[in-house]
């Protein structure tokens, strides 16, 4: 370890070399350092194992209210003997002059044979040169005196009197140098330098949640790619979550075991009469079954954010648009390192007469490039509401395999036509936790929602 010392440390070391076991106050006095500088200097030296701090307790005594009065004008018994030094006096006059302390003072003086009483008068027998307690009073005065410097016997007579003596318990620190420090030559070390190589205590930053950081990053990328963010409710009628997306009412994905239905909650208003009629016709024609409006009314926790974009498109019927929706979605799954019941999804659409599949792939490739993923490929896949449908596969270097990320496709005419959307709609979307897992190198998706402070405080912000 380099031996670099701060000016404060140097001063303290040199003082302690000549005199050990000093209190911080004494060190301050001798070095002319402020109490705070002394405190810090001692702490630094202690951490470097150069100084030993011995803590000890000491009792000191100072005078209370009555003690101070006695210090100024004498003990009551001294006052009494002084009054009758030159001749006896009436008890009643003495009582007037000494007040409430007259009684105890007379008792004490009688006991010590300094005075005697005749009829109603007191007269002096022997004038005491020293009264017990006077020495201590004088010694303490207005300051305080420590236990070892005091005459205990003399103190005792004062201790019994009310509000004469205050006993203080004082903790003191005594600082001395270790053997290593004794032999240090501090004269050749740099002035003003500190030990820059020493360990320092850890400080934890306050920060936004790592998953929120990823969400913000993704939001920003799509905004710069020309997309506008839209919001929608997390609870949705089945109509927008399923029916409007051409998912038949008897489709397995709509069952309780996959989708969270709200217990006993239905929506009276699910869409315009025209939307409802046309969607139901599309289902009857495509899937050959009895379409039940009550099924469409059942409220669910949205299983994707697509319900938000499709509703937006149905309401706005834009000819040219780029919008996205980002937020929580829900699946009735067993929670595991791979699956959560509630996670985040981003889903976006491009509407326009010239929108085509290669453009959609281009947007995906650009997005991945911006989050630092360049090894990607596209595979065909199936979604009930898009045709053609593709999925992006990205290469996970850590796992050494291709993993599935966003899905995409062109909305089926069975979805768009009933809602009066005439232009082709490119749609894409996927889970955000998966991307965040790649980013933070996590194998267990639950970590994002554990709120484990040790992880939150240590996860690196830029990956």
């Amino acid at each position: 370890m380099s031996q670099v010392f701060h000016e404060i440390e140097k001063k303290i070391i040199s003082i302690l070399k000549s005199e050990s076991n000093l209190t911080p106050e004494k060190i301050g006095e001798l070095t002319q350092l402020s109490p705070d500088q002394v405190r810090r200097g001692i702490e630094w030296l202690r951490l470097k194992e150069l100084a030993i701090v011995n803590e000890s307790q000491n009792i000191t005594f100072s005078l209370g209210k009555n003690g101070l009065e006695a210090f100024e004008s004498g003990l009551p018994e001294r006052k009494l003997v002084d009054l009758i030094k030159d001749g006896s006096m009436k008890i009643s006059d003495l009582q007037k002059q000494l007040g409430s302390v007259f009684g105890p003072a007379m008792g004490l003086a009688k006991k010590n044979n300094w005075i005697e009483s005749k009829e109603n008068e007191l007269s002096l027998k022997t004038y005491p040169s020293n009264i017990p307690g006077e020495k201590t009073l004088k010694q303490i005065g207005k300051s305080s005196v420590s236990e070892q410097d005091i005459d205990k016997e003399d103190l005792q007579s004062l201790m019994r009197r009310p509000e004469f003596i205050i006993e203080n318990l004082i903790k003191t620190k005594q600082i001395s140098l270790t053997k290593n420090a004794q032999s240090l030559d501090i004269s050749d070390s740099d002035s003003g330098a500190i030990d820059v190589e020493a360990n320092v205590p850890e400080i934890f930053v306050a920060r936004t949640h790592p998953l929120k950081d990823t969400i913000d990053e993704i939001r920003e990328i799509f905004v710069t790619l020309g997309f506008t963010e839209i919001f929608g409710n997390l609870t949705q009628p089945s109509f927008w979550n399923f029916d409007a997306l051409f998912t038949p009412q008897d489709h397995p994905a709509r069952e309780l075991q996959d989708t969270f239905y709200l217990d006993g909650v239905s929506s009276k208003k699910i869409g315009t009469p025209d939307q409802i009629r046309k969607v139901s016709e599309s289902h009857k024609k495509g899937w050959r079954y009895y379409w039940d409006i009550n099924e469409a009314r059942k409220m669910v926790l949205r299983t994707h954010t697509t319900c938000v974009t499709i509703k937006h498109l149905a309401e706005n019927k834009s000819e040219e648009a780029r919008v996205f929706s980002l937020g929580r979605v829900f699946r009735n799954e067993k929670v595991s390192y791979k699956h959560l019941v509630e996670f985040n999804q981003i889903e976006g659409v491009v509407v326009g007469s010239n929108a085509n599949l290669r453009n959609l792939m281009g947007i995906q490739r650009e997005f991945y490039r911006r989050i630092g993923i360049t090894k990607i490929k596209f595979w065909p896949t199936f979604f009930p509401y898009t045709e053609p449908s593709l999925q992006t596969m990205v290469y996970n270097e850590r796992l050494g395999k291709w993993v599935e990320l966003f899905g995409m496709g062109i909305f089926r005419p069975e979805v768009t036509k009933p809602l009066g959307i005439t232009k082709p709609v490119l749609a894409w979307g996927g889970g955000i936790e998966r991307i965040a897992m790649l980013k933070y190198g996590l194998d267990d998706v639950r970590e994002f929602y554990n709120n484990n402070l040790n992880w939150l405080r240590s996860a690196t912000k830029c990956q």
Partner: protein, 545 residues
Amino acid sequence: MPVVEVSYSRLQKLVGKASKKQISESLPFLGLDIESEDKDLVRVEYSPNRPDYSTDFGISLGLEGILGIKTGSIKLKIKKSKTYAINVKSNVSKIRPFVTGIVAKNGKIDDKIIKQLMAMQEDLHFGIGRKRKKSSIGIHDLDKICFPLTYTTTDRNYKFIPLNSKVEQTISEILQNTEVGQDYGYVLGNSAQVPIIVDSKDDAVSFPPIINADKTTVTTKTKNLFVEVTGINKGDAEDMLSVVATILQSAGFNLESVNISGARNKTPKLEHRQMSVSPSLINDSLGLTLNNSTIISSLKKSRLDATTSGKNISCKIPPYRFDIFGPMDLVEEVALGYGVEKLTPQLSSSETLGMVNPISSKLKSVSLTMVGLGYLEALNSSLTSKRILFEMTNREPKNPIAVLDSKSQEHTILRDSILPGLLENLSRNIHAQYPQKLFETGTVFFKNDPIDEKTNFAAVWANQDANFSEMKSILQAVLKTGFNLQIETKTATHETFEKGRTASILVDGKTVGIMGEINSNTIENYKIRVPVSGFEITLSGLIFD
């Protein structure tokens, strides 16, 4: 998505002229995701709309096409036969009105084929059959059946020996005692009469949609098959039959027709459909400039037939491809046949300007301001539990919103408050360094014809010196700095907060939240060892609508 296990060596045998590598590289481009591989065995995930991919026969038809070994559509060669017939009685019309069927002869049946057929049957039942409700299938040993058959109904005391049983059982017993009976009996409801197929000797062949008779069980000794499909509509039943017929023909069987008549039932035609698509729709959708001959060859690689017809391309679609609804489906078939790997991404310039939603921006301001004040952002589920939301925090549930049949005990009701989750977080971190300061913004839910969703913001501070006033300073600072809002606090009571140290939070005279020192009861419930202060306010209506 369903998964099927097939072997490379069998696929190679079926496809011919293709290496294992070629096959393994082509599978994803048919839409078949390789889930795992173990030497010769490969497990692939396939789309529920392609039940033909539930067998290696179906997969090899697709591979032949995409590899260019055999292209064009698969034609069903069905020999017209008068030997086989099913007569339908009108009494089935109210229960399960349609039946259809086919005969498949002279095939080789080994354990592997039986396994594949069983898997296909299960998939058809689950997928287009909608758990046997819409349609269901029975595959029988043809030579154990005496034709003609009758599709009729019977009562629940009717007895026969069902598959995998040695003794006769009544319909009621079958529904109660067998696994399939318990799983699919629901399809029949409480109807006194149930559907049944009997042969000319009055022996039961099948009790649709539940179980076959034991005597027609298919074994490795079986040479000829009889397939019947019943259902609630003719189209679905015939779709199902066409998948099985196509697969059996590919497996080497010769098909023969079964005459179906009575009660609006007819012999299935299993014919190709005609559909036309314009080349411009294809090119515009894919972003390509393919000429007609490339389009046609691509469609053929996808095992369809196509010819030019005027300005359009006319396609012939085999009956088992009922996943093709219209021209956009043909666009996808072109893409697959052409090769998705040949589609290059193209970034077109955007004609729209992007915008962050103002709600997101404001929530981000809340987060950043809180971080500036030394608070760490937490994230909790909005679907949580009674324990966290009410029991631990001593709150009375008011009209909670529950979900049905959750698979997780910890996720059963929607939160109406964020604070309980943050307290739960503190209780899980009692060994981490203090002070602990957490905040969260998120959605809370209330019943209101049907549901009100609001955005709330809550924070907690746990430390030896946590107190009311500094918590108020924090809230005051974040609302002042972030949104120029002034808060007032008024004495209040709340189940979670300490009496005398609880206040409601007001902005412009309107109550927007609650704050205070968390009471000892709650802190003890959570086994937190230091004092905790906290607040929760509703941002909806305050900083955005």
